[in-house]
Amino acid sequence: MSELIDARGLSCPQPVLITLEKLKSLNQGELVVLVDTDTSKENVIRAASSLGWQVKDVNAAGVEYKLTLEKA
């Protein structure tokens, strides 16, 4: 079961801040992040890439995105 972060409705820079915190504590594995704006989606992906995490999947559901990040 992968870890989950719900960043829906949060303003910048909160989604990135809590995602980075989680990614650093996990160090590897899989993390699912829920966001509801395209800005947050792009920012989270950019921040995750900077730590060497890959975007495994971007799932658009209605007005939300479910981002699956992974690092082997």
Binding site: S11, E21, T37, N43
Partner: protein, 364 residues
Amino acid sequence: MSSIREFFASRVGIISVGAFIGVFAALLQKLGNPGNMGICVACFDRDIAGAIGWHRAAVVQYLRPEILGFVLGAMMAAFAFKEFRPRAGSAPIVRFVLGMLAMIGALVFLGCPWRALLRLAGGDGNAIFGILGLVAGIWIGTLFFKRGYNLGRAQSTYASVGWLFPLIILGLLALRLIFPQVPDKDLSGILFYSIKGPGSQHAALAVSLAVGLVVGLVAQRSRFCTMGALRDLILFRQIHLFSGMLALLIAAFLTNLLLSQFKPGFANQPVAHTMEIWNFMGMVVAGLAFALAGGCPGRQLFMAGEGDGDAAVFVLGMIAGAAVSHNFGLASSPQGVGPYGITAVFVSIAVLLFIGFTMRQKTA
């Protein structure tokens, strides 16, 4: 569509947008806008407050079409790319107050972050103190972020919530068309105009509106934000947005050189004063307020165009803050700070610290 999307999300994309804003802001000065004020979101919101009579400072009354263009352009981009997301409900009263304080601080310095860059690009050395203040204010903001400061979650909501602010903007545009400027008159129907001073200096309506619309379009796509630029640099050591901000500065500087608009110095700079400490402190207030609200004044306009009702409340707070600033003698002038400007800086900092220290909600 997806290649346009990728371009604007890229490093080259954000640099292009910053450069575009820099070039056109400098050109707008050539075409009639005030000195080193091709585009200034704070000053232009303040001029709008004057145009609708919320304050009666005779020299700063003009319904700036650039601002209207920013919101409408951002809205068009949001619709074209299916990003119009009506959302609201994240501490609106706090956002209103942050907008007011941001404006009070910006008017002590005399400019928003965009204008701080444009002033520097035009040779105004006083801008250095403003930019240092901006960095300091945003840095204080990042300390609050690290302690868990946030304004709580916004919710998706009715489409009409997202529509309301763009509709207000369309209403203002209608007023501007119905009541055009009458030469040598300070009133046209219900709109106030300046006969002299910065408010009387402006490019033609169509030019201002067109530049505003295009800036709104490209800035919505690229998420251009000067506060975010410095915040991400300080907080995450990330240079993405910062590269756009730097591009604005360099492009405006080069355009000014070409147009012979670069005049280095401290004294007698256009719409500026030389009180270093208050140039610095004004922008500490503004920078902290932008950081706590999640965006510089330009970005708040673009987000309001995307349907963000909370950003719209921030903008309305800014316009109200401009009225307060001028009605209460808080705003600076080329002679220096207003009679109550220094008091306002300290009161503003106290309120900002209160907000920063008390609004901590566990979100994760």
